[in-house]
Amino acid sequence: AQSVTQLDSQVPVFEEAPVELRCNYSSSVSVYLFWYVQYPNQGLQLLLKYLSGSTLVKGINGFEAEFNKSQTSFHLRKPSVHISDTAEYFCAVRMEYGNKLVFGAGTILRVKS
């Protein structure tokens, strides 16, 4: 069965500092990978996704993620965070043949001024 591990439950960071949110998955077959963001009192919104091709994926709001097949990782990065990036971030994986997403437990990013 697939599983997704988000290694940090909370990440505090100062404004304008870089940040990396880590995600590892377990699957023996090809997968599609997603990062979603949830702002307070809202539903989830897609940040970016990896389907195939270039392993570096750029998303909205200046976020990017790198797919590493050998390490089964899909870490999310932003070079300079803003207060408005404070939210919970979810990594999700979907098998190549299937329509179910498996989500990680989430990482709360707290940006401090």
Binding site: N41, G43, L51, E96, N99, L101, G106
Partner: protein, 114 residues
């Protein structure tokens, strides 16, 4: 833009009550999903539907049922609510099962069972 709406943002029910959570999407999506979200557990799939009147169990279907009589509407039913069903419930939809189709989420319903 795709819009997924959920009938209530907050709901308070008593143990043993039958509870209906409604979800409507306006973009003719084939697939619809119900998740529950709990702190430290992420989102867990309860049920999903890939067509009208079709449904499949997700990872945690016990205590829940669903109904999809029309393509745009997907209902989650708690037959007899219990306190351990206090949670945030999120509905989502996606166009098809084709690769990479993202799921679009509603704002969520925070259910409290007393």
């Amino acid at each position: 833009d795709v819009k997924v709406t959920q009938s209530s943002r907050y709901l308070v029910k008593r143990t043993g009550e039958k509870v209906f959570l409604e979800c409507v999407q306006d973009m003719d999506h084939e697939n619809m999903f119900w998740y529950r979200q709990d702190p430290g557990l992420g989102l867990r799939l309860i049920y999903f539907s890939y067509d009208v009147k079709m449904k499949e169990k997700g990872d945690i279907p016990e205590g829940y049922s669903v109904s999809r009589e029309k393509k745009e509407r997907f209902s989650l039913i708690l037959e007899s609510a219990s306190t351990n069903q206090t949670s945030m419930y999120l509905c989502a939809s996606s166009l098809t099962s084709a690769r990479g189709n993202e799921q679009f989420f509603g704002p969520g319903t925070r259910l409290t069972v007393l």
